[in-house]
Subunit: 346 residues, 2 copies
């Protein structure tokens, strides 16, 4: 792989550079072709660069951006009044060709809006989608989208999500024809609202998507569908229910192991085996949601990510650079538009 550069919004997330800098350090060790441009407030970043052994690193650049966007900032006001934020400067680097991708743990709404304005969407796409690969019970990943960037979605939007998710999954997971499903309240064709039913019809009638029908939320993790499409409200709820339930179970498991001296003893012996088995379900391993549909690569890390989790977000950006995801999506969109033109002329 050729050399490539990631622009890092170092200020975003709950812990800012205290996570993004050590994660950069880790990623640089793993990828000898990786260059990172750290974007952030000089006064805060400078002393930390030496602390994390990045001060004179040959593959690290630093770019000063005096403003920071908080998790509470309103995206629209950020767009209007915060022209020197680390998030925007990092995105501008991608837009100008100075970087191949942007990674940020900052405010999702702001990232979405700034990315759309700075990078622009691909031909045929009105708004980017937020997608994440979740571990499934078959040991693979299911791509769930949208995760909250588009709360309400019309039929065409859902169709485009399906198409984009299909390309992303095909490339990153190296699957020849990923199965695509719509999230619904039942499997039967008469279930759901009109938008979903209409979209199901569109998906079933295009040769570019391997549409397998509706999926219910309890099947999300059984691996039947490689790509699961829904609006941002429902996707956000599915993702967070999943995380919430995982935490409930772990807490109860810990309680069981802490119950008596006997269970504590057994738990100590069994814990490493359980941890090893459950590790592929750990949220850290699927940190890194992609904003797709843009003319550039943008990856969003959880705001509360730790160093390991943030490293996975950088990993996700690297995979998308490797597979040139925006170009692949753009090519697929063109084919579908051509298919539609053919149909309308028949």
């Amino acid at each position: 792989m050729r050399n490539f550069t990631i622009a890092l919004d170092a200020m975003g997330g709950d812990f800012g550079p205290h996570i993004s800098l050590p994660a950069s350090s880790k990623s640089l060790l793993l990828h000898p072709n990786l260059y990172i441009t750290i974007v952030g407030d000089k006064q805060i970043i400078s002393p930390l660069l030496s602390q994390y052994q990045l001060l004179e690193h040959p593959r690290i650049k630093f770019m000063h951006a005096p403003e920071t966007i908080s998790m509470e900032d309103d995206p629209v006001s950020v767009l209007r009044h915060r022209s020197q934020s680390s998030m925007l400067v990092a995105l501008q680097l991608v837009a100008s060709g100075g970087a191949d991708a942007c990674v940020s743990a900052g405010n999702t709404g702001a990232l979405m809006l700034l990315a759309k304005h700075t990078l622009k969407t691909l031909e045929g796409i009105s708004r980017p989608a937020l997608v994440s690969a979740l571990p499934n019970n078959r040991g693979g990943h299911s791509y769930l989208m949208d995760l909250g960037a588009n709360l309400q979605c019309g039929c065409d939007t859902l169709f485009n999500f399906a198409l984009m998710g299909s390309v992303l999954c095909e490339k990153v997971e190296q699957l020849s024809s990923p199965s695509v499903s719509l999230l619904n309240v039942g499997r039967e064709t008469n279930k759901g609202n009109d938008t979903i039913k209409h979209c199901a019809n569109l998906l079933a009638n295009t040769e570019y998507i391997n549409y397998i029908g509706y999926i219910e939320a309890n099947e999300l993790f059984d691996g039947r569908a490689d790509v699961v499409v829904t609006d941002g409200f429902s996707g956000n709820i599915a993702l967070k229910s999943y995380e919430g339930m995982g935490r409930v179970f772990l807490a109860q498991l810990q309680k069981a192991m802490d119950a008596t001296w006997y269970s504590r003893f057994l738990g100590k012996l069994l814990n490493p085996i359980i941890k090893n088995q459950l590790k592929h379900l750990h949220p850290d391993l699927y940190n890194g949601a992609s904003l797709i549909g843009l003319r550039g690569i943008v990856v969003k890390s959880h705001g509360s990510a730790n160093v390991e989790a943030f490293t996975y977000a950088i990993e996700q950006a690297i995979k998308e650079i490797q597979w040139q995801i925006p170009a692949c999506i753009s090519a697929r969109l063109e084919s579908v538009l051509a298919e539609r033109d053919c149909l309308s002329h028949e």
Copy 2:
């Protein structure tokens, strides 16, 4: 408690009378004041009544209904063409005063529509809601609604759900002022769509609901909110994600325990303790979703419920009879309508 009668749609669910009859048997043993009217097809039910020791039980009645509604039947066509179904006959028993509640494991959409037409909704309620009590991490229950009966909901509908859920939770859980929350993609007041924001405003301004703000889906099970309100599409997804993740987790835990002879040995010793700790999270224990907002009590069991789970659905109906939930909801609705009248005259 006085004597009371439950009308049982014996034919509904994946296993029909093979589950509903033994569950009836169990419930009759537990509740000496309980009478059950079994509604179903004579030819199928008659031989089973003796098999499950119900043939000459002094508190069992049988009512013949030759038609059965399948899980695939379209609710609207059922309403028009299936006037002798076990589900409808059971509901009519409640409407006529011949029973205090109806329990069915049948087709949810059909139950919803038939219940609405047979029992009618309370003054001020246009459609009933489906609500279930989920176990939370504090050892209590959080009431989630709507679970799929109303896919899209306007602001007033969500407000009414909050009010009805609050009454149900207050009575059944014996809480003086249950906390009520709206499910959203973030806690901040600027999050969500206009319907949710408007509803949040209404909820914050009524003295009859202890509204505590938005809740995210990962907080569903931490017990912060006693009642969580959302539209039927999102509620269905939250509930099923929860169930799906639970299954993933248990499967992985089992895999860990089956990994080696050593883990099998430790697992065997620890398993009873883990099972005991996790048992309050078992779906069987929260089987029994209530259709509320009707002029009568209707409880829906999971279609795939086993005998124990179906017994819990009957238990739920008994609690609602005991607390006269429809009358309590009706009274609270009246107070709120009066409050609104006062406000509009100020």
